[in-house]
Point group: C2
Protein backbone atom coordinates (compact mmCIF):
# COMPACT_ATOMS: atom_id res chain seq x y z
CA UNK A 1 0.00 0.00 0.00
CA UNK A 2 1.26 3.46 -0.90
CA UNK A 3 1.37 6.54 1.25
CA UNK A 4 -1.48 9.02 1.34
CA UNK A 5 -1.19 12.58 0.07
CA UNK A 6 -1.39 15.73 2.15
CA UNK A 7 -3.62 18.35 0.51
CA UNK A 8 -3.23 21.97 1.55
CA UNK A 9 -6.60 23.62 0.84
CA UNK A 10 -6.96 27.39 0.94
CA UNK A 11 -9.64 29.86 -0.08
CA UNK A 12 -11.09 33.20 0.98
CA UNK A 13 -13.94 32.98 3.48
CA UNK A 14 -17.16 32.38 1.50
CA UNK A 15 -15.58 30.52 -1.42
CA UNK A 16 -17.07 27.23 -0.22
CA UNK A 17 -13.96 25.45 1.04
CA UNK A 18 -15.54 23.73 4.08
CA UNK A 19 -18.63 22.63 2.11
CA UNK A 20 -16.45 21.17 -0.64
CA UNK A 21 -14.25 19.27 1.82
CA UNK A 22 -17.33 17.93 3.67
CA UNK A 23 -19.00 16.86 0.43
CA UNK A 24 -15.76 15.24 -0.71
CA UNK A 25 -15.54 13.13 2.43
CA UNK A 26 -19.20 12.11 2.17
CA UNK A 27 -19.35 11.16 -1.49
CA UNK A 28 -16.13 9.28 -1.97
CA UNK A 29 -15.90 6.48 0.57
CA UNK A 30 -13.66 4.24 -1.62
CA UNK A 31 -10.66 6.40 -0.79
CA UNK A 32 -9.43 6.72 2.76
CA UNK A 33 -9.55 10.46 3.52
CA UNK A 34 -9.51 12.62 6.63
CA UNK A 35 -9.51 16.29 7.51
CA UNK A 36 -6.56 17.36 9.61
CA UNK A 37 -7.58 18.24 13.15
CA UNK A 38 -5.56 21.05 14.72
CA UNK A 39 -4.21 21.15 18.26
CA UNK A 40 -5.28 24.05 20.45
CA UNK A 41 -4.87 25.25 24.02
CA UNK A 42 -8.14 27.20 24.06
CA UNK A 43 -11.03 25.83 26.08
CA UNK A 44 -13.60 23.48 24.57
CA UNK A 45 -16.86 25.20 23.61
CA UNK A 46 -20.33 23.69 23.92
CA UNK A 47 -20.93 21.13 21.15
CA UNK A 48 -17.24 20.65 20.43
CA UNK A 49 -15.59 17.24 20.67
CA UNK A 50 -11.97 16.49 21.46
CA UNK A 51 -10.27 14.89 18.43
CA UNK A 52 -13.05 16.03 16.11
CA UNK A 53 -13.06 19.83 16.16
CA UNK A 54 -9.65 20.17 17.79
CA UNK A 55 -7.21 18.16 19.81
CA UNK A 56 -7.62 20.11 23.07
CA UNK A 57 -4.39 20.16 25.08
CA UNK A 58 -2.88 22.05 28.02
CA UNK A 59 -0.55 24.95 27.31
CA UNK A 60 2.40 23.15 28.98
CA UNK A 61 1.86 20.10 26.78
CA UNK A 62 1.59 22.27 23.65
CA UNK A 63 4.88 23.98 24.52
CA UNK A 64 6.51 20.58 24.99
CA UNK A 65 5.30 19.57 21.52
CA UNK A 66 6.77 22.80 20.11
CA UNK A 67 10.11 21.92 21.78
CA UNK A 68 10.02 18.46 20.22
CA UNK A 69 9.38 20.03 16.78
CA UNK A 70 6.10 18.15 16.49
CA UNK A 71 4.24 20.95 14.71
CA UNK A 72 4.39 21.63 11.00
CA UNK A 73 3.16 25.13 11.82
CA UNK A 74 1.68 26.83 14.85
CA UNK A 75 0.54 30.28 15.87
CA UNK A 76 -0.50 32.09 19.04
CA UNK A 77 -3.78 34.00 18.77
CA UNK A 78 -5.17 35.97 21.75
CA UNK A 79 -3.04 33.94 24.16
CA UNK A 80 -4.08 30.55 22.77
CA UNK A 81 -1.94 28.27 20.64
CA UNK A 82 -3.18 26.63 17.46
CA UNK A 83 -1.01 24.14 15.59
CA UNK A 84 -0.83 21.40 12.97
CA UNK A 85 0.71 18.19 14.27
CA UNK A 86 3.35 16.64 12.05
CA UNK A 87 3.01 13.32 13.92
CA UNK A 88 -0.76 13.07 13.48
CA UNK A 89 -0.53 13.88 9.77
CA UNK A 90 2.38 11.58 9.06
CA UNK A 91 0.84 8.62 10.89
CA UNK A 92 -2.29 9.00 8.75
CA UNK A 93 -0.34 9.39 5.50
CA UNK A 94 1.63 6.25 6.43
CA UNK A 95 -1.66 4.34 6.64
CA UNK A 96 -2.43 5.35 3.03
CA UNK A 97 -4.94 8.01 4.12
CA UNK A 98 -5.20 11.30 2.23
CA UNK A 99 -5.30 14.24 4.63
CA UNK A 100 -6.95 17.59 3.88
CA UNK A 101 -5.52 20.57 5.65
CA UNK A 102 -7.82 23.61 5.72
CA UNK A 103 -5.43 26.52 6.17
CA UNK A 104 -4.69 30.06 4.97
CA UNK A 105 -1.89 30.97 2.55
CA UNK A 106 0.62 31.79 5.32
CA UNK A 107 0.11 28.42 7.02
CA UNK A 108 0.07 26.72 3.62
CA UNK A 109 3.43 28.22 2.80
CA UNK A 110 4.96 26.93 6.07
CA UNK A 111 3.56 23.43 5.46
CA UNK A 112 4.81 23.38 1.87
CA UNK A 113 8.34 24.24 3.04
CA UNK A 114 8.34 21.33 5.48
CA UNK A 115 6.42 18.82 3.36
CA UNK A 116 7.26 19.64 -0.25
CA UNK A 117 5.48 16.47 -1.41
CA UNK A 118 2.14 17.98 -0.28
CA UNK A 119 -0.25 19.05 -3.03
CA UNK A 120 -2.02 22.36 -2.75
CA UNK A 121 -5.38 23.52 -3.94
CA UNK A 122 -6.86 26.99 -4.04
CA UNK A 123 -10.61 27.57 -4.30
CA UNK A 124 -11.78 30.79 -5.97
CA UNK A 125 -15.19 32.44 -5.97
CA UNK A 126 -16.40 33.44 -9.47
CA UNK A 127 -16.56 37.15 -8.56
CA UNK A 128 -16.38 39.62 -5.69
CA UNK A 129 -20.10 40.28 -6.10
CA UNK A 130 -20.89 36.60 -5.61
CA UNK A 131 -18.49 36.31 -2.66
CA UNK A 132 -20.16 39.27 -0.95
CA UNK A 133 -23.61 37.80 -1.69
CA UNK A 134 -22.56 34.50 -0.05
CA UNK A 135 -21.14 36.23 3.03
CA UNK A 136 -24.39 38.24 3.38
CA UNK A 137 -26.52 35.12 2.89
CA UNK A 138 -24.92 33.55 5.95
CA UNK A 139 -26.57 36.29 7.99
CA UNK A 140 -23.79 36.07 10.59
CA UNK A 141 -21.91 39.29 10.06
CA UNK A 142 -22.45 43.02 10.18
CA UNK A 143 -21.67 45.18 7.14
CA UNK A 144 -18.42 46.26 8.78
CA UNK A 145 -17.33 42.63 9.31
CA UNK A 146 -18.27 41.76 5.73
CA UNK A 147 -16.25 44.70 4.42
CA UNK A 148 -13.28 43.41 6.46
CA UNK A 149 -13.76 39.87 5.12
CA UNK A 150 -13.86 41.20 1.54
CA UNK A 151 -10.53 42.96 2.08
CA UNK A 152 -9.03 39.79 3.60
CA UNK A 153 -10.43 37.79 0.67
CA UNK A 154 -8.51 39.93 -1.80
CA UNK A 155 -5.30 39.45 0.13
CA UNK A 156 -5.86 35.66 0.32
CA UNK A 157 -6.78 35.42 -3.38
CA UNK A 158 -3.59 37.28 -4.36
CA UNK A 159 -1.68 34.10 -3.35
CA UNK A 160 -3.64 31.70 -5.59
CA UNK A 161 -0.59 31.34 -7.83
CA UNK A 162 1.42 29.59 -5.09
CA UNK A 163 -0.90 26.56 -5.40
CA UNK A 164 -0.69 23.43 -7.59
CA UNK A 165 -4.38 23.39 -8.52
CA UNK A 166 -7.08 26.05 -8.78
CA UNK A 167 -10.81 25.30 -8.60
CA UNK A 168 -13.39 27.95 -9.45
CA UNK A 169 -16.44 27.40 -7.27
CA UNK A 170 -19.14 28.91 -9.46
CA UNK A 171 -21.34 25.81 -9.70
CA UNK A 172 -20.92 23.64 -6.57
CA UNK A 173 -21.39 20.24 -8.28
CA UNK A 174 -18.92 21.18 -10.96
CA UNK A 175 -16.38 22.31 -8.34
CA UNK A 176 -16.89 19.05 -6.42
CA UNK A 177 -16.30 17.03 -9.62
CA UNK A 178 -13.09 19.03 -10.12
CA UNK A 179 -12.00 18.30 -6.56
CA UNK A 180 -12.69 14.57 -6.98
CA UNK A 181 -10.81 14.46 -10.30
CA UNK A 182 -7.73 15.96 -8.62
CA UNK A 183 -7.75 13.40 -5.79
CA UNK A 184 -8.32 10.53 -8.23
CA UNK A 185 -5.59 11.71 -10.62
CA UNK A 186 -3.05 12.17 -7.82
CA UNK A 187 -3.65 8.54 -6.83
CA UNK A 188 -2.77 7.55 -10.40
CA UNK A 189 0.68 9.12 -10.20
CA UNK A 190 3.35 6.60 -11.07
CA UNK A 191 4.93 6.34 -7.60
CA UNK A 192 1.53 5.81 -5.92
CA UNK A 193 0.50 3.16 -8.43
CA UNK A 194 3.89 1.41 -8.23
CA UNK A 195 3.39 1.03 -4.47
CA UNK A 196 -0.27 0.00 -4.76
CA UNK A 197 0.34 -2.57 -7.52
CA UNK A 198 3.77 -3.83 -6.49
CA UNK A 199 2.72 -7.50 -6.54
CA UNK A 200 1.00 -7.16 -9.91
CA UNK A 201 4.00 -5.40 -11.44
CA UNK A 202 6.40 -8.02 -10.09
CA UNK A 203 4.24 -10.71 -11.74
CA UNK A 204 4.02 -8.78 -15.05
CA UNK A 205 7.80 -8.40 -15.18
CA UNK A 206 8.76 -11.86 -13.85
CA UNK A 207 10.93 -13.99 -16.17
Amino acid sequence: MGKGTLYIVSAPSGAGKSSLISAMLETNPTYAMKVSVSHTTRGMRPGEQDGVHYHFVQKEHFEELIEKNEFLEYAEVFGNYYGTSRVWIESNLDKGIDVFLDIDWQGGRQIREQMPQAKSLFILPPSNGELERRLNARGQDSDAVIAKRMAEAKSEISHYNEYDYVIVNDDFDNALTDFKAIIRAERLKQDKQAAKYKGMLDALLAE
Copy 2:
Protein backbone atom coordinates in the same frame (compact mmCIF):
# COMPACT_ATOMS: atom_id res chain seq x y z
CA MET B 1 -7.42 30.75 -23.36
CA GLY B 2 -4.61 28.53 -22.14
CA LYS B 3 -2.52 26.10 -24.11
CA GLY B 4 -3.48 22.47 -24.53
CA THR B 5 -1.47 19.62 -23.05
CA LEU B 6 0.42 16.98 -25.00
CA TYR B 7 -0.23 13.49 -23.59
CA ILE B 8 2.26 10.73 -24.39
CA VAL B 9 0.28 7.48 -24.10
CA SER B 10 2.10 4.13 -24.09
CA ALA B 11 1.10 0.55 -23.36
CA PRO B 12 1.89 -2.97 -24.46
CA SER B 13 -0.19 -4.26 -27.36
CA GLY B 14 -3.47 -5.62 -25.93
CA ALA B 15 -3.62 -3.33 -22.88
CA GLY B 16 -6.49 -1.36 -24.45
CA LYS B 17 -4.74 1.90 -25.30
CA SER B 18 -6.52 2.59 -28.60
CA SER B 19 -9.96 1.71 -27.17
CA LEU B 20 -9.37 4.02 -24.20
CA ILE B 21 -8.25 6.92 -26.38
CA SER B 22 -11.25 6.43 -28.73
CA ALA B 23 -13.69 6.24 -25.81
CA MET B 24 -12.09 9.32 -24.28
CA LEU B 25 -12.60 11.35 -27.46
CA GLU B 26 -16.22 10.16 -27.79
CA THR B 27 -17.38 10.70 -24.22
CA ASN B 28 -15.86 14.02 -23.38
CA PRO B 29 -16.85 16.60 -25.99
CA THR B 30 -16.57 19.61 -23.62
CA TYR B 31 -12.80 19.50 -23.86
CA ALA B 32 -11.09 20.08 -27.20
CA MET B 33 -9.01 16.93 -27.78
CA LYS B 34 -7.33 15.28 -30.76
CA VAL B 35 -5.17 12.28 -31.47
CA SER B 36 -1.86 13.09 -33.07
CA VAL B 37 -1.70 11.94 -36.70
CA SER B 38 1.75 10.79 -37.83
CA HIS B 39 3.41 11.60 -41.13
CA THR B 40 4.47 8.69 -43.31
CA THR B 41 5.98 8.07 -46.73
CA ARG B 42 4.39 4.63 -47.19
CA GLY B 43 1.54 4.25 -49.67
CA MET B 44 -2.08 4.74 -48.63
CA ARG B 45 -3.95 1.47 -48.08
CA PRO B 46 -7.62 0.81 -48.98
CA GLY B 47 -9.89 2.48 -46.43
CA GLU B 48 -7.23 4.91 -45.21
CA GLN B 49 -7.73 8.67 -45.38
CA ASP B 50 -5.05 11.32 -45.65
CA GLY B 51 -4.99 13.46 -42.49
CA VAL B 52 -6.99 10.87 -40.53
CA HIS B 53 -4.89 7.70 -40.40
CA TYR B 54 -1.67 9.40 -41.49
CA HIS B 55 -0.47 12.48 -43.22
CA PHE B 56 0.74 10.79 -46.43
CA VAL B 57 3.72 12.62 -47.94
CA GLN B 58 6.43 12.00 -50.55
CA LYS B 59 9.85 10.84 -49.38
CA GLU B 60 11.52 14.03 -50.67
CA HIS B 61 9.06 16.18 -48.72
CA PHE B 62 9.58 14.10 -45.55
CA GLU B 63 13.35 14.54 -45.84
CA GLU B 64 12.88 18.29 -46.26
CA LEU B 65 10.84 18.31 -43.05
CA ILE B 66 13.64 16.38 -41.28
CA GLU B 67 16.12 19.01 -42.49
CA LYS B 68 13.90 21.77 -41.12
CA ASN B 69 13.74 19.97 -37.75
CA GLU B 70 9.96 19.71 -38.03
CA PHE B 71 9.72 16.29 -36.39
CA LEU B 72 9.69 15.64 -32.66
CA GLU B 73 10.74 12.08 -33.50
CA TYR B 74 10.89 9.97 -36.65
CA ALA B 75 12.01 6.50 -37.67
CA GLU B 76 12.64 4.58 -40.89
CA VAL B 77 10.95 1.17 -40.98
CA PHE B 78 11.37 -1.11 -44.04
CA GLY B 79 12.33 1.84 -46.21
CA ASN B 80 9.39 4.03 -45.14
CA TYR B 81 9.55 7.02 -42.84
CA TYR B 82 7.18 7.58 -39.94
CA GLY B 83 7.31 10.76 -37.89
CA THR B 84 5.55 13.03 -35.40
CA SER B 85 5.26 16.61 -36.60
CA ARG B 86 6.23 19.25 -34.07
CA VAL B 87 4.41 21.91 -36.11
CA TRP B 88 1.08 20.04 -36.24
CA ILE B 89 1.19 19.32 -32.51
CA GLU B 90 2.21 22.83 -31.46
CA SER B 91 -0.41 24.51 -33.64
CA ASN B 92 -3.08 22.36 -31.96
CA LEU B 93 -1.73 22.99 -28.44
CA ASP B 94 -1.71 26.73 -29.21
CA LYS B 95 -5.44 26.51 -29.99
CA GLY B 96 -6.02 25.09 -26.49
CA ILE B 97 -6.48 21.54 -27.81
CA ASP B 98 -5.15 18.56 -25.81
CA VAL B 99 -3.26 16.17 -28.09
CA PHE B 100 -2.89 12.43 -27.44
CA LEU B 101 0.20 10.80 -28.85
CA ASP B 102 -0.02 7.01 -29.12
CA ILE B 103 3.63 5.93 -29.08
CA ASP B 104 6.02 3.35 -27.61
CA TRP B 105 8.47 4.05 -24.78
CA GLN B 106 11.39 4.86 -27.11
CA GLY B 107 9.33 7.43 -29.03
CA GLY B 108 7.88 8.69 -25.76
CA ARG B 109 11.35 9.29 -24.38
CA GLN B 110 12.36 11.31 -27.45
CA ILE B 111 9.20 13.44 -27.22
CA ARG B 112 9.68 14.03 -23.48
CA GLU B 113 13.21 15.31 -24.08
CA GLN B 114 11.97 17.83 -26.63
CA MET B 115 8.70 18.77 -24.92
CA PRO B 116 9.30 18.40 -21.18
CA GLN B 117 5.93 20.00 -20.45
CA ALA B 118 4.19 16.94 -21.98
CA LYS B 119 2.40 14.62 -19.56
CA SER B 120 2.83 10.89 -19.94
CA LEU B 121 0.52 8.01 -19.21
CA PHE B 122 1.22 4.30 -19.16
CA ILE B 123 -1.59 1.74 -19.44
CA LEU B 124 -1.00 -1.66 -17.81
CA PRO B 125 -2.91 -4.91 -18.23
CA PRO B 126 -3.86 -6.56 -14.91
CA SER B 127 -1.80 -9.71 -15.66
CA ASN B 128 0.13 -11.53 -18.37
CA GLY B 129 -2.61 -14.16 -18.50
CA GLU B 130 -5.24 -11.51 -19.25
CA LEU B 131 -2.99 -9.82 -21.81
CA GLU B 132 -2.48 -13.11 -23.64
CA ARG B 133 -6.22 -13.81 -23.49
CA ARG B 134 -6.96 -10.42 -25.09
CA LEU B 135 -4.38 -10.93 -27.84
CA ASN B 136 -5.88 -14.37 -28.59
CA ALA B 137 -9.43 -12.97 -28.53
CA ARG B 138 -8.55 -10.62 -31.39
CA GLY B 139 -8.09 -13.73 -33.55
CA GLN B 140 -5.57 -11.87 -35.71
CA ASP B 141 -2.34 -13.54 -34.77
CA SER B 142 -0.68 -16.95 -34.82
CA ASP B 143 0.72 -18.48 -31.62
CA ALA B 144 4.22 -17.49 -32.71
CA VAL B 145 3.18 -13.86 -33.24
CA ILE B 146 1.42 -13.83 -29.87
CA ALA B 147 4.52 -15.21 -28.13
CA LYS B 148 6.53 -12.42 -29.78
CA ARG B 149 3.99 -9.79 -28.65
CA MET B 150 4.11 -11.13 -25.10
CA ALA B 151 7.91 -10.73 -25.04
CA GLU B 152 7.59 -7.20 -26.46
CA ALA B 153 4.93 -6.44 -23.86
CA LYS B 154 7.33 -7.28 -21.03
CA SER B 155 9.98 -5.01 -22.50
CA GLU B 156 7.46 -2.15 -22.95
CA ILE B 157 6.03 -2.63 -19.43
CA SER B 158 9.52 -2.46 -17.91
CA HIS B 159 9.51 1.28 -18.77
CA TYR B 160 6.24 2.10 -16.95
CA ASN B 161 8.21 3.99 -14.30
CA GLU B 162 9.28 6.69 -16.78
CA TYR B 163 5.68 7.91 -16.96
CA ASP B 164 3.80 10.53 -14.91
CA TYR B 165 0.62 8.48 -14.53
CA VAL B 166 -0.16 4.75 -14.55
CA ILE B 167 -3.62 3.33 -15.32
CA VAL B 168 -4.40 -0.34 -14.72
CA ASN B 169 -6.91 -1.45 -17.36
CA ASP B 170 -8.62 -4.30 -15.53
CA ASP B 171 -12.17 -2.96 -15.75
CA PHE B 172 -12.55 -0.79 -18.88
CA ASP B 173 -15.06 1.72 -17.42
CA ASN B 174 -12.91 2.20 -14.36
CA ALA B 175 -9.81 2.76 -16.52
CA LEU B 176 -11.75 5.28 -18.63
CA THR B 177 -12.85 7.14 -15.49
CA ASP B 178 -9.18 7.22 -14.42
CA PHE B 179 -8.16 8.59 -17.81
CA LYS B 180 -10.85 11.30 -17.68
CA ALA B 181 -9.85 12.28 -14.12
CA ILE B 182 -6.25 12.82 -15.26
CA ILE B 183 -7.27 15.05 -18.18
CA ARG B 184 -9.67 17.02 -15.96
CA ALA B 185 -7.12 17.44 -13.16
CA GLU B 186 -4.37 18.58 -15.52
CA ARG B 187 -6.71 21.32 -16.75
CA LEU B 188 -7.07 22.48 -13.14
CA LYS B 189 -3.33 23.09 -12.75
CA GLN B 190 -2.67 26.64 -11.62
CA ASP B 191 -1.00 27.86 -14.83
CA LYS B 192 -3.84 26.50 -17.03
CA GLN B 193 -6.51 28.04 -14.81
CA ALA B 194 -4.67 31.36 -14.58
CA ALA B 195 -4.73 31.55 -18.39
CA LYS B 196 -8.35 30.41 -18.69
CA TYR B 197 -9.67 32.76 -15.98
CA LYS B 198 -7.40 35.74 -16.56
CA GLY B 199 -10.29 38.21 -16.83
CA MET B 200 -12.02 36.82 -13.74
CA LEU B 201 -8.79 36.95 -11.70
CA ASP B 202 -8.08 40.52 -12.80
CA ALA B 203 -11.57 41.48 -11.61
CA LEU B 204 -11.18 39.61 -8.28
CA LEU B 205 -7.88 41.39 -7.58
CA ALA B 206 -8.81 44.87 -8.90
CA GLU B 207 -8.56 47.72 -6.39
